[in-house]
Symmetry: C2
DNA sequence: CGGCGCGTGAAACTCTCGGTGAAGAGCGAC
DNA sequence: GTCGCTCTTCACCGAGAGTTTCACGCGCCG
């Protein structure tokens, strides 16, 4: 069960936008892409999906780019992952009538567990975590 | 993030073996495969991997087939999934040095969450669950 | 020894993912 | 109005993993 690179890119992009959220300025796709070593043309597709789910918003023209659509505390990792994948934890078994009901229950437990964990991580959390780690240097 | 069909097949096979564990008889691959609508030739490969991890064992020749290598209570869903996939929750990000440390922490939380849940489900649990559901019919 | 069923490896096939390129559309500056 | 900047959209391709099937070798039991 391997998380796609796409989800990783999406999470990085949103994190980067969260970091620059205070500036209020729109961020260009190319800048975001370069900041994380992601192919710009690919990142575009991801951002469009994120926009469709109102996680980010875009501004066109000169000085255009992308912004978070909400404050970082209101965006969870689960939101981002679901936006890119649909259900985070999926398996053919859940839509297979041959699947024994006991197993179905087990898959659903796993799904619920992942969802709960992912929904409990907001990007504000991640920002705080990053800052507190920085402060460590001063001690 | 989609669980492969292979994991599902593996789980079904082990569950089926657990159900028949009391008989003490070796179960033929074809019987197991037919009982769940799984391609027999594919199931063989899965069973070989399960055998390598000492989750099942095999008997050759006439009256041969597969058996659980331990009692159902000692086999967890996590064991089976890891046997088929290596780490259950994997992502390229964890081996990418460009990955922001905050995100790395988040991925590890997800991984830990999945592992904990999967390791907490034994096949004995699943058997019990199935039986208690059967009993419901008598009430 | 002969048949049954496991053991193993490889070929073929499908499908998604990751990535690229180019043409189109809105916004601001001059 | 026109030009340049940047997002928007769509079409496509190559690689690789996952799934499936086939063929043949090997060990065990009667």
């Amino acid at each position: 069960m391997k998380l796609s690179v796409k989800s990783d890119y999406a999470a990085r992009a949103v994190l980067e936008l969260a970091r620059r959220y205070a500036s209020g300025k729109a961020q260009r796709v190319e800048d975001l892409a370069e900041a994380q070593g992601v192919p710009a043309n690919y990142l575009v597709q991801i951002l469009i999906e994120l926009k469709a789910q109102r996680i980010v918003k875009s501004v066109r023209g000169k000085e255009g780019g992308y912004l978070l659509a909400k404050i970082p505390a209101e965006i969870t990792l689960g939101d981002v992952l679901r936006c890119v994948h649909g259900e985070i934890f999926d398996t053919a078994a859940l839509s297979d009538s041959n699947c024994p009901p006991e197993l179905r229950g087990a898959w659903e437990k796993l799904r619920q567990s992942v969802n709960a964990t992912a929904d409990n991580i907001t990007f504000q959390n991640l920002l705080d975590e990053g800052e507190s780690k920085e402060k460590m240097y001063y001690i």
